[in-house]
C-alpha cells in the first residue's frame, strides 16, 4: 500500500518520478502563499513556486530525510535560496523551469485577486509605503522607478543619471532592505 505522507512521496519519487506529484500537492498551495507574502507580488510568487518545485524535482535524489518535517524543511531551503537570489538579482531565476521545459501557468485575474487577499497583501500597502519612506533617497527613487513605474534598468539609469550597474545595485539593495523591514524570517505557520 502506498504511504500517503509527503515525505514518503518525495522519498519514493527518487525511484518512481510519478510520486513527486503527491509531494507537490501537499506543498504547492502553502508555498505559493508563502512566496506571495515575501515578494508582495502574486505573479512573481507563481514563478518562484514553479522554480522551487522544478529544482526539487531535479534534485529529489538528494533528499535523505524521512519525516514530513524534514521534507518540508528541505523544500523550504530551496525556496529561501530562490528568494535570496531574487532579491540579489532583481528578478526570479527560472533555470530549472527552463531546463525541464515546464510551462509556468499564469494566474487569472480571479486567482490574482484571491491570492492577493489570502496573502493579506492589501493590508500591507501601508507597511510597504512606510518601508519605502524609510529607505535612503537614492534607493527609494530607484525602487520606485523600477517597481512602481516599471522602467527598465536602462531607463532607471537614464532618469537618475547613473550607470546601469549602479541602478541595478540600488534597486537590489532597496528591495532587500524593504523585504527585511516588512517580513521576518519564514515561520512554520507560513509553511
Amino acid at each position: 500500500m502506498t504511504d500517503p505522507s509527503p515525505a514518503a512521496a518525495l522519498r519514493e519519487s527518487r525511484d518512481d518520478a510519478r510520486r513527486f506529484e503527491d509531494f507537490y500537492c501537499a506543498h504547492a498551495g502553502p508555498m505559493l502563499r508563502w512566496f506571495a507574502r515575501h515578494v508582495l507580488d502574486p505573479e512573481l510568487a507563481m514563478d518562484l513556486t514553479a522554480e522551487t518545485f522544478a529544482q526539487a524535482f531535479a534534485g529529489r535524489t538528494r533528499f535523505r530525510g524521512h519525516s514530513d518535517g524534514e521534507a518540508a524543511a528541505w523544500l523550504y531551503r530551496i525556496a529561501e535560496r530562490q528568494l535570496t537570489r531574487t532579491w540579489r538579482r532583481g528578478r526570479s531565476e527560472q533555470r530549472a523551469v527552463r531546463r525541464l521545459g515546464i510551462e509556468t501557468p499564469k494566474l487569472s485575474p480571479d486567482e490574482f485577486a484571491r491570492l492577493h487577499d489570502l496573502a493579506e497583501l492589501a493590508g500591507r500597502r501601508a507597511s510597504v509605503a512606510q518601508g519605502l519612506s524609510r529607505l535612503p533617497r537614492a534607493q527609494r527613487d530607484a525602487v520606485h522607478l523600477r517597481v512602481i513605474d516599471e522602467l527598465t534598468y536602462s531607463e532607471v539609469a537614464q532618469q537618475l543619471r547613473i550607470s546601469e550597474d549602479t541602478a541595478r545595485a540600488r534597486v537590489s539593495r532597496g528591495l532587500r532592505a524593504l523585504a527585511r523591514a516588512l517580513i521576518g524570517p519564514p515561520t512554520e505557520e507560513a509553511r
Binding site: 519519487s13 513527486f20 504547492a28 526570479s92 527560472q94 515546464i102 499564469k106 494566474l107 531607463e155
Partner: protein, 239 residues
C-alpha cells in the same frame, strides 16, 4: 488559514506539468530514477517571429488611452532629449511570444544628431506600454537613450524585463546596425531569427523567458558573415 492548491487553476496546471515530467521520466528509464543533469523533455518552444501583420490584427482589440506623461523638465539631461518631430518607427516589428501588440524600436535624433532609441509595444506607428488592455504611448523624453551609432557592425542591447501586459519575463534584444550590415541573425534554442535593419539601422527580437544562449551573426552588404560568438544566460554578451 488553509490554502488548498486545488483552489488555484494555475497550480493545478503546474501539477499537470509535474505529472507529465514524472510520467516521461518513468517511461524513459523503465521505472528507475534518473539524476539531474540529463534533459527529460525538449525545452518548451520559444517563439520569436518578425511580423508586421500582427500590429493590425491586434490593434482591433486594444484601445488607446492617455500618453505616458514625460518626466518633469530638467530631469532628463539635454543630450538625452530627442528633437520633437525627428522620431520614426524604424525597425521591423517583432511579435510578442504571447501575442498582442508587436514590439518595435523608435529612433529619433537629439540636438547633436545622435540617434536616440526607445522600444515598446507598437500601435499605429507609436511605441508605448499596454496596461489593463489599454495602450499608452511613451513620451519622447525620458524613454529614449541617445548614444553614437556604430561606424561599422552593430550595437546590441539585452533588456530583460517583465512584460507590462502579461507580467511574463521577456528578453528583448535590440539595437542599431551600421550601413554596412544587411541582416542580423540570432540563433537560440528555439531557432534562428533573421532581422533586417530599418532605414536608421534599428532591429529588435523578443523572446519568452530567458533563452539558455544566444548566438549572433552579422551579415554584411557584401555577403560576408561575422559570427559574434555565443552568449550564455544570464549575460548574453560575448567576450
Amino acid at each position: 488559514m488553509n490554502l488548498d492548491h486545488l483552489e488555484f487553476p494555475a497550480l493545478r496546471e503546474l501539477q499537470g506539468e509535474f505529472r507529465r515530467l514524472g510520467a516521461a521520466e518513468h517511461l524513459s528509464v523503465g521505472g528507475r530514477g534518473r539524476r539531474w543533469g540529463t534533459r527529460i523533455v525538449p525545452l518548451a518552444a520559444l517563439a520569436t517571429l518578425t511580423v508586421a501583420a500582427a500590429a493590425g490584427a491586434t490593434a482591433l482589440v486594444i484601445s488607446e488611452g492617455d500618453p505616458i506623461p514625460p518626466p518633469p523638465p530638467g530631469e532628463v539631461s539635454a543630450d538625452q532629449q530627442p528633437k520633437p518631430g525627428s522620431e520614426r518607427l524604424d525597425s521591423d516589428l517583432a511579435a510578442d511570444p504571447a501575442g498582442g501588440l508587436p514590439w518595435g524600436v523608435r529612433v529619433a535624433r537629439n540636438a547633436q544628431g545622435l540617434p536616440c532609441l526607445a522600444i515598446g509595444r507598437v500601435l499605429d506607428g507609436k511605441i508605448g506600454k499596454v496596461r489593463g488592455g489599454v495602450f499608452h504611448a511613451s513620451p519622447l523624453n525620458g524613454s529614449s537613450h541617445c548614444a553614437p551609432a556604430p561606424d561599422s557592425g552593430a550595437k546590441f542591447t539585452f533588456d530583460a524585463r517583465p512584460d507590462s501586459v502579461t507580467g511574463d519575463q521577456r528578453m528583448i534584444v535590440y539595437g542599431q546596425a551600421a550601413a554596412d550590415v544587411s541582416a542580423i541573425e540570432i540563433a537560440s534554442p528555439s531557432g534562428i531569427v533573421r532581422m533586417h535593419p530599418g532605414a536608421m539601422g534599428a532591429f529588435i527580437a523578443v523572446y519568452a523567458g530567458m533563452p539558455a544562449w544566444l548566438e549572433r551573426t552579422l551579415v554584411f552588404t557584401d555577403g560576408t558573415r561575422q559570427p559574434l560568438g555565443r552568449g550564455e544566460f544570464p549575460d548574453y554578451r560575448t567576450r
